[in-house]
């Protein structure tokens, strides 16, 4: 087993793609850094926190991007975002599947406007790929999780593969606590944070395919057939979810409502036992 959580962005790429097949576009040697960080005396990175390129997966060519959570929490700035957008647009040109190895707190505040617009451009580019039937797969298993605008972008993609250690949300728990008070969200309650944002809750809602924290498990879960987008069906599904669970106090209540026995044990189960426990009980 090789932990996805512990790996760097480039180690994840190397572990996922066929050995030696990765070629990076606009690599660190090109020295394209963020001028906005320098202006604020913040350390820059030669890849601005994201590696993009191409490679093969079991011989099939594909494009790949990996955010580096260790650099500014994988936050999206002007250059970082433009690299992902460029990759997605290239995927449309080449009709090549895209793997997005995301780990991001959202928009980089030091260049907040550029980051927000960049996320919007990423969203538009993903939607263009969906419309063309070119698959985009998100893999989320990093420590930071995926939040903010990248959390929205994630839900635009064909598929999301996620480990139980990873998190997916819009506002981070700390931000909600700071803004709305600890009664709304106690960000120090780690069990609560994972019940809300963690891979298991997202899997129960059908938003994610759950895998163990192992690069090989992520690799094995990749499916490249495009998922047809039926907005009317999705609208009905999300409406039913809102009606049934929108007022639920805690994810535990939702899991119990779904008929899952002793829901309190779910966070303790390993991935296989968890998947057996929720079989046929998805929201």
């Amino acid at each position: 087993m090789t932990s996805w959580l512990e790996a760097t962005a480039r180690e994840r790429i190397a572990g996922l793609l066929d050995p030696g097949s990765f070629t990076e576009f606009v690599p660190p040697e090109a020295r394209i850094t963020s001028p906005h960080l320098a202006q604020l005396n913040q350390p820059a990175a030669f890849d601005d926190g994201v590696a993009v390129g191409r490679g093969t997966l079991e011989g099939a060519p594909m494009l790949i991007a990996a955010q580096e959570g260790a650099f500014m929490g994988g936050a999206v700035g002007e250059v970082h975002g433009a690299k992902i957008t460029g990759l997605l647009e290239r995927a449309l040109d080449e009709r090549a599947p895209v793997l997005l190895l995301l780990e991001s707190g959202g928009v980089r505040l030091h260049e907040a406007n550029a980051g927000l617009i960049a996320v919007s451009e990423i969203m538009r580019a993903i939607l263009a790929l969906r419309g063309a039937g070119v698959p985009v797969i998100v893999l989320n298993g990093g420590r930071v999780g995926v939040f903010g605008g990248m959390g929205i972008a994630t839900c635009l993609c064909d598929r999301l593969i996620m480990s139980e250690d990873a998190r997916l949300g819009l506002s981070g728990p700390e931000v909600i606590e700071t803004t709305m008070g600890v009664e709304e969200f106690d960000a120090a309650d780690r069990a609560l944070v994972w019940r809300v944002t963690g891979g298991k809750n997202r899997a129960i809602f059908g938003e994610a395919v759950l895998v163990p924290d192992d690069i090989a498990a992520f690799r094995a879960a990749i499916r490249l057939d495009p998922v047809p987008l039926d907005v009317e069906a999705e609208h009905a599904l999300l409406g039913a979810r809102l009606d049934r669970f929108g007022a639920a106090e805690d994810a535990l209540d939702i899991w119990a409502d779904l008929g899952i026995e002793t829901p309190a044990r779910l966070p303790l189960l390993d991935t296989d036992d968890f998947l057996s426990a929720i079989e046929g009980k998805l929201a």
Partner: protein, 230 residues
């Protein structure tokens, strides 16, 4: 500007827009309006409702242009909404707007109040073209909060914001960076008519940002990645 002052200026011939709390929607001539007011927080229920209206317009009025009038303080900060995956609801709204675009509906955004973070991302930023009133406020975060989070002194941020469009709040910054196409002033009905007559084309925001000098790297770097021969 208050929505009650805005609508008569946009639609001097009247409209059938109905209000329900912080949400409103309805036809005005041959334009379909969807909006929020009073700095609405965009939660799962509100974004689902907006998405439903987009789908209804596609079904009942094929091809009718959609005008988004959004006043929002951003996404709703709520444990319950996060539990049921708020980002999936906002992504759904984005998919519905793109679905409408694909079926030939023009989509115009007008920021008449506030547009903050994911509230902006989920609405006018997905339009073919986004405009703003001069008094509109567009931002991710105000400078004091940004200073607290980044640990960069407020004075430094204020000083830099004089010369850089890249982080500080302000509609002029979003114009410089290409995300807001232009300001609507004077005859707002005529502004709307002109916007509707314009061919949107593909996402031009990077090119605009480069031409206007506010975002000098985004177009070039994305083009480099797209065309890298490696």
């Amino acid at each position: 500007m208050k929505i009650d002052d805005l609508l008569p200026q946009l639609f001097p011939n009247g409209h059938d827009i109905a209000f329900d709390g912080d949400y409103f929607a309805g036809p005005a001539g041959d334009v379909a309006v969807i909006g929020t007011r009073d700095r609405a927080a965009i939660g799962a229920a509100l974004s689902h409702r907006m998405a439903g209206e987009v789908l209804r317009i596609c079904r009942d009025h094929p091809g009718r242009p959609i005008l988004l009038l959004v006043d929002t303080l951003g996404q709703k900060m709520s444990r319950r909404d996060e539990t049921i995956c708020l980002n999936a609801y906002i992504a759904h709204l984005a998919k519905c707007l793109d679905h409408a675009r694909g079926r030939g509906h023009r989509i115009i955004g007008l920021v008449y109040g506030e547009a903050v973070s994911a509230g902006f991302l989920s609405s006018s930023m997905l339009a073919d073209a986004c405009y703003a009133l001069p008094e509109a406020e567009v931002k991710v975060m105000n400078l004091p909060a940004m200073s607290r989070v980044t640990k960069i002194p407020l004075e430094r941020l204020e000083e830099l914001s004089q010369s850089s469009a890249v982080f500080a709040p302000g509609v002029e910054n979003y114009i410089a960076m290409g995300a807001v196409r232009g300001i609507w002033e004077g005859d707002l009905a005529a502004c709307l008519e002109r916007a509707l007559a314009e061919d949107p084309g593909p996402d031009t925001r990077r090119t605009l940002g480069e031409q206007r000098g506010g975002r000098t790297l985004a177009r070039r770097v994305s083009a480099d990645v797209r065309g890298d021969a490696a």
